[in-house]
Symmetry: C2
Subunit: 290 residues, 2 copies
């Protein structure tokens, strides 16, 4: 019998935990600044859900909506003013940036102060992830995947895991986190030969490629754990539908645990954003108390 | 027929290339500062070979030999004075540090200016490696492995590679570089189950664990490429002998290409140190010219 990994309920549980913790803060509340550039509807939708989630748990949120043709220098100035703003514990730059800025994405992210890097995507923090520093902030989506495995008490040590997709934002950090948790990780990608065989051999399959139902569900090994990071919009009978990178209908017949799309990793990304905001808040507080 | 990957000769070729290039510099020559703490004979031997190699190619080298009980603060002060020294383009902290400092290794490495990080081991540089930044300095031993594959025209794209060992200094950076070169990489380690099977499936085997002949040569797939990073001293009939992490005698019957130990990766590490020093020199020069 397959167990559905319910990211939505898990995220609600985490939010309840955070709410309880934050409600006990008598002084200032944690603060998250969100920066969004341009008018991509999906990005605005995500940013709004993130702000709404902040409100729910008692985190103040601040938003800068910037014109799509803002210059790099202007954008970095906005980031820096949040760096210097004591009300702000975490700074989130909503990605992707518009085409005119996208080549400079990493440089712009690196303008975020290491102490406010809520998404864990600055170069310094990625380095900390690689060197397994205790000080590292785990990027939200990878952390959300790990938290799901943890809350469903899925053993990782010694397991063979495959991560399909090698982006700096998702694939590579997940591979490192799984490696740190003592899985044997295969990093697969578009140039991988025999991808089918690699998937068939994996106890844990993590898909982060962004291609609708790209991975055949029949490839999943019986009893495997499937975490689908992809959220892709397709049309079925003229209606818009969200699907993952893996054929869910088939995969659920093979897997022991599987995340649905939507309602799997997606809500966890937001929950981990809140959790990271709280972590940064507490770090700043303990630094200030020294 | 197996081809021996001759790291010694390849390193000599690279040194000749560097010598030719550096001899054309009419102003100042590149400079490398080497810092060694304590009196470990092997470390002193390595540092001396590195300085000798510098002299050969026309790089100035400076050495600080520090007492084993130096404090972290004092050591960082030495690093900082090299950071501020215009004659110095690269700073190498010989590892491992003595036991009293080893827990702070990464923090001490991070005192090296990013512009002089010749070993590519600062947190910032490791992050750049992960985000595939063009600006990254590739750590010397991983870069040496990649250079051997390149100079022997061994195709990497689409190949299945296994990296055994996941240290921050060697294993993880090699895995990232192979991934960047479009191999499908398995990151294996002491908690890996079925390691034998994983090795048997690999087209490229990279061993970086530091255990004498830990990997049975018979596990190597026929026609595979074997890169042995390990250098371990053992005793045979009362005589000291250096061996790798892989049983060479057996492995050479299976492999298409194989590195010997010694004379494989070892000399390449030094050659890449020289190459990185030159790269940093040229970067500083072009920055100064702006």
């Amino acid at each position: 019998m397959v167990t559905l990994i319910d990211g939505k309920t898990t995220a609600e549980t985490i939010k309840a935990e955070l709410t309880a913790e934050i409600s006990s803060f008598t002084e200032r509340k944690p603060g998250l600044a969100v920066i969004i550039v341009g008018d991509d509807p999906a990005s605005h939708y995500y940013v709004n859900s993130k702000q709404k989630a902040c409100t729910t748990v008692g985190i103040n949120s601040f938003k800068s909506e910037l014109a799509h043709d803002i210059t790099k220098a202007e954008l970095i100035e906005v980031i820096q003013s949040y760096n210097n703003d004591d009300k702000v514990d975490g700074i989130l730059l909503q990605l992707p940036l518009p085409a005119s800025l996208s080549a400079d994405t990493q440089e712009i992210i690196d303008a975020i102060s290491a102490t406010k890097d809520v998404d864990g995507l600055t170069t310094t923090n990625l380095g900390k992830l690689l060197s397994k520093s205790k000080d590292a902030i785990e990027p939200c989506t990878p952390k959300g995947c790990m938290e799901l495995l943890k809350r469903y008490q899925i053993e990782i040590q010694g397991k063979k895991a495959i991560v399909i997709g090698r982006s700096t934002l998702v694939g590579k950090p997940i591979a490192l986190l799984l490696n740190n948790a003592n899985a044997t990780v295969v990093m697969a990608h578009s140039k991988t030969k025999n991808l089918d065989k690699e998937i068939k051999n994996a106890d844990i399959v993590i898909a982060a490629i962004g291609k609708a139902e790209f991975i055949k569900g029949s490839l999943i090994k019986e009893g495997a754990v499937v975490i689908d990071v992809g959220i892709n919009a397709i049309e079925v009978d003229g209606k818009r539908k969200l699907v993952g990178d893996i054929e869910f209908a088939e995969a659920q017949n093979q897997a022991e645990f599987i995340t649905p799309v939507p309602g799997g990793v997606g809500p966890m990304t937001v929950a981990m954003l809140l959790k990271n905001t709280l972590e940064l808040y507490q770090k700043r507080k303990s630094l200030a108390a020294r």
